[in-house]
Amino acid sequence: MYKKTLSLRFPKKMVDEPIAVNLVKKFDLSFNILKATIYPRKEGFMVLELSGHKKNFQRGVRYLKTIGIKVESIGQDIKRNEELCFHCGACTAVCATGALHIKRPEMTVEFDKERCSACEWCVAACPARAMEVRFNRTLLD
């Protein structure tokens, strides 16, 4: 599951499009509105958590952009669920920054948050689903 929190800025004159229906029906995505300030005939702002398959996600975002919405992703954190991680090392295959790396000779898998670029490769590649995307809630205030 690919999940990102996005900020959407709507133009003053919104096109007549059923955005929500399209995201769900055309792109098989689900969403959760975290914040919305939309005034009729004024610029609108919305924080949306969008999730689905990565390819559908990308197509969905492209769609939003083509209808004139400014889409930006909002800061999120990659966390490791220490309960679930069983220190196999599979994630080190996809982690280009070395944030996930093996400590030798112990063979424990370390997660160095400082080096993480939040590319989210490990989220899909971890067999235990131990790498989680967490939205940084402070940005909502």
Binding site: G89, I102, R104, P127
Partner: protein, 394 residues
């Protein structure tokens, strides 16, 4: 005067366990002991060597009996949390396989599929004490009139639940690379193009069958650690093939022996039976298996003293050779090289990536050692050792 050669029996060792005198070491400790003292002296001092492995093992599953049900039902199709189980058994007996995806899983419809929930996860949830939704349909008979059933069940309410894995603890396994120019998603993990990484999935010197390479002590009836509880080897696993090329130390140079194992799911712990999702491949179950090896003589001491430097496997291309069914060895690497972080291949240093948890394997070997030292776990004499193939005919 030369000392008498060591020759112990399982009964001798069990007697020492009961008396609290048994000496147990893990397989990685044994490597150092045999190296320093030699096999004869090691056999004199050490009674049991514990091994361990923790990795996705696809050929796993559980037999479950969900009866009795009122009115009575002879279920013909059953699912658990939306994952189909095999119901072609008696009325309320089913088998839930680790790799079965949920009915509504999009699979690889959009590649690579995520395979978020499957049989392995159902087993994991049950062991973790979570309730699971059971749905069954039936065609109805005079003796079993009920045609449909839907209820939430917890592991402890089931009349029986047995983990029975047809093939676990492979004795050695391939080292996978990808020589194509595209990333591929396999049961050996994500393999980056142009040999970007080399994945392996064996605990090396801690691995159960690499410590008894010729199957001298293990077989039907061997008591083991399975999923955090006591389990048993019930015979050779599927694809058990002793007749492969071997090193001088008896260990196979490619996949060889396997174990069929069984244990009571109700006694297990979710830490040691964990549902997994292999990106683009499917669902599976990571299983913890630990096998105690009785050090009956110097030969067995020598076998259990094997170290990662003396264990080898083959590099196989999963990009084009393996899918064609034409897997050929592109080179041999040792587990010491694999564990070091890079392996030499075609003049480059390829990052090596484990799929098998060495940390957990060691924890299993330590736990099993503790159980034996505390007198909670006695060894068994197998009724029949694993088939040794041509080696056994010599």
């Amino acid at each position: 005067m030369a000392k008498k050669k060591v020759s112990k029996t399982i009964d001798d060792i069990n007697q020492r366990i009961r008396e609290g005198k048994v000496v147990v070491v893990t397989a990685d400790e044994m490597a150092g002991i045999v190296h320093a003292k030699g096999p004869e002296q090691a056999a004199r001092e050490i009674d049991v060597v514990t091994t361990g492995t923790f990795a996705p093992m696809c050929s796993s599953g559980a037999f479950i009996n969900f009866g009795p049900v009122q009115p009575a039902i002879k279920a013909s199709s059953v699912s658990l949390n939306g994952v189909p189980a095999y119901a072609g058994l008696a009325a309320v007996d089913i088998y839930i396989g680790a790799t079965e995806p949920a009915e509504d899983d999009p699979l690889n419809g959009v590649h690579p599929g995520q395979f978020k929930y499957g049989g392995g996860h159902v087993i994991h949830d049950l062991v973790a004490g979570k309730k699971v939704e059971l749905r069954a349909t039936a065609y109805g008979t005079d003796c079993y009139p009920n045609r449909s059933l839907k209820k939430r069940v917890a592991l402890q309410e089931l009349s029986s639940a047995t983990l029975l894995n047809p093939r676990n603890a492979y004795q050695n396994y391939n080292c996978a690379v990808n020589l194509t120019s595209k990333t591929i998603y396999t049961y050996m993990g994500v393999l980056k193009p142009n040999c970007g990484n080399a994945n392996y999935s064996t605990a090396g010197q801690l691995s159960p069958l690499l410590n008894d390479p010729l199957y001298m002590t293990l077989g039907l009836g061997s008591r083991i650690f399975l999923g955090g509880a006591v389990g048993y080897i019930i015979g050779p696993g599927t694809q058990h093939n002793p007749d492969v090329a071997r090193a001088d130390n008896g260990t196979p140079l490619s996949p060889a022996g396997t174990l069929m194992v069984m244990g009571n799911l109700k006694d297990m712990n979710p830490k040691w039976v964990a549902g997994v999702s292999m990106l683009g491949y499917g669902c599976s179950l990571a299983v913890g298996v630990g096998v105690p090896i009785p050090v009956l003589n110097a030969d067995i001491a020598r076998f259990t003293g094997v170290s990662d430097e003396e264990l080898f496997t083959q590099i196989i291309d999963y990009g084009s050779d393996y899918p064609k069914g034409e897997a050929v060895s592109l080179g041999t690497v040792s587990y010491a090289q694999l564990k070091s972080g890079t392996v030499p291949f075609n003049g480059q240093d390829v990052p090596s990536v484990p799929l098998s948890s060495y940390v957990r394997a060691l924890e299993i070997a330590d736990l099993l050692k503790e159980w034996i030292e505390k007198g909670q776990f006695l060894l068994t004499q197998p009724v029949e050792t694993l088939p040794a193939g041509k080696m056994g005919m010599a």
